[in-house]
C-alpha cells in the first residue's frame, strides 16, 4: 500500500516536471470578418501575443489594431480612423480562463475541446465573452484554434446607416496560434 502511494506521488511529480507551465507566441494569427451583403470586409494580423498558463488555465491575448491588414487601402484607413479609432485605442486585449482546463492533458499529444470565458477590451470598452475552441498538444507545442462572434455595437463601434449593407455589426473572429513553452 505504502509502495503504491509512493509510486502514485512520484508519478504525479514526474508528470508535472514534464508539463510546461506556460506557453506563448508573439506571432498569433487573428482574422476577422465583418462582411455584409454588398461588401467583403475582412482583415488579418499575424502579430498577436498570447500566453497560456497550463496549470491554471489562464489565457491572455494582446493585439495591435494597426497590425490588421486589409486588401483595400481605403478600407484599412476607415477601419483605423473611423471605426476602431486605433490612434486613441491602439490595442485590443483578452483576459480569460479555460473553464475545462482540468480536462486537458498538456503532456499527452492530442486534440482537446476547450471552453474559454473572459473579457475582451476593444475601443475602450470591456465586455464578457464566451468561446469554444480546440487545443492541440503536439511534440511539446500547443496549438489554439477558436472562432467566436462579437457585436461591434457592444464596443461602441457604430456603423452608419449608409453602409449597413456593406459592414456587418456581427463580426466573426478566428484565432490560430501555435505556442511554444515559455522558459523561465
Amino acid at each position: 500500500m505504502k509502495r503504491t502511494s509512493l509510486s502514485i506521488i512520484l508519478l504525479i511529480v514526474f508528470v508535472n516536471l514534464f508539463a510546461q507551465a506556460k506557453y506563448f507566441t508573439k506571432s498569433g494569427k487573428i482574422y476577422f470578418n465583418a462582411s455584409a451583403k454588398l461588401e467583403k470586409v475582412e482583415a488579418t494580423t499575424r502579430s498577436a501575443i498570447a500566453v497560456v498558463d497550463s496549470k491554471t488555465g489562464k489565457l491572455q491575448f494582446a493585439v495591435m489594431l494597426k497590425g490588421f491588414e486589409f486588401e483595400k487601402s481605403l478600407m484599412q484607413e476607415h477601419f483605423n480612423e473611423n471605426y476602431v479609432e486605433s490612434d486613441k485605442y491602439p490595442k485590443s486585449e483578452f483576459t480569460g480562463q479555460i473553464i475545462n482546463n482540468s480536462e486537458i492533458n498538456y503532456t499527452k499529444d492530442g486534440n482537446y475541446d476547450a471552453k474559454v470565458k473572459g473579457t475582451i477590451t476593444l475601443h475602450g470598452v470591456t465586455k464578457d465573452v464566451v468561446a469554444s475552441g480546440k487545443l492541440s498538444v503536439k511534440e511539446g507545442k500547443l496549438g489554439l484554434n477558436a472562432v467566436f462572434d462579437i457585436l461591434l455595437s457592444d464596443f461602441k463601434i457604430d456603423i452608419p446607416g449608409l453602409v449597413r449593407e456593406n459592414i456587418s455589426n456581427d463580426t466573426k473572429i478566428t484565432i490560430e496560434c501555435l505556442m511554444e513553452p515559455l522558459k523561465g
Binding site: K22, F24, K26, S27, K29, T45, R46, S47, I49, V51, A62, M64, L65, K66, G67, E69, F70, E71, K72, S73, L74, Q76, N80, S86, D87, P90, K91, L178, L182, G184
Partner: protein, 151 residues
C-alpha cells in the same frame, strides 16, 4: 444649343472621370512600402530605450509611421502560410523589434540564413510592454521589407 450640349458633355465627362477616380481610390490596395517616404530612421537599442523612458509619447510619435530600423538580427520566424517575421534585438535583452514582412517582400532561400545586422523598413503598429518580466517588451512593425544586410 451648342453651348448647352457642350456643358452637358462636360458634366457627363466629369461624372465619368469622377467615377473612375472614385473607383480607383475605392479598390486600390495598400501602397508598396518601398515607395512610401520614411518618417523616422533609428536603431533597435535607441528605439527600445525611447519606449522605456516614455511609452505613451513615444507610441504617439511613431504610431502608423513609416520607419527604417537597423539592428542585430536575432531570429527569422516563418509561419505555416509562409509569412516571415524578422526579430531584431541584442543578445541578453528579451525586448525586441518584431518586423512582420509584407507578403510582397518575403525572403528568398538565401535570406532565410541571414545573420548579423540588418536594415529594415516598415510601419510601426504598436509597443507591447511586458509586465510579467517573462516575455520581453516588443516594438511591432508590419508590412516590412528587408532593405539590406549590414556588414
Amino acid at each position: 444649343m451648342n453651348r448647352k450640349k457642350t456643358i452637358l458633355l462636360s458634366v457627363i465627362i466629369a461624372i465619368i472621370a469622377g467615377g473612375f477616380y472614385g473607383g480607383h481610390e475605392y479598390f486600390k490596395g495598400n501602397p508598396d512600402i518601398n515607395n512610401l517616404p520614411t518618417a523616422f530612421h533609428t536603431n533597435v537599442p535607441s528605439l527600445l530605450k525611447e519606449f522605456n523612458a516614455d511609452e505613451v509619447n513615444t507610441g504617439t510619435k511613431y504610431l502608423g509611421k513609416v520607419m527604417e530600423v537597423e539592428g542585430s538580427l536575432r531570429t527569422i520566424e516563418k509561419d505555416a502560410q509562409g509569412f516571415y517575421t524578422m526579430v531584431l534585438g541584442d543578445k541578453g535583452d528579451m525586448s525586441s523589434v518584431r518586423c512582420a514582412l509584407d507578403k510582397v517582400h518575403g525572403l528568398n532561400s538565401d535570406d532565410e540564413h541571414l545573420s548579423g545586422k540588418v536594415h529594415l523598413k516598415g510601419i510601426f503598429t504598436g509597443y507591447n510592454k511586458d509586465n510579467t518580466g517573462l516575455l520581453g517588451s516588443d516594438v511591432q512593425m508590419a508590412r516590412c521589407m528587408l532593405i539590406q544586410e549590414l556588414k
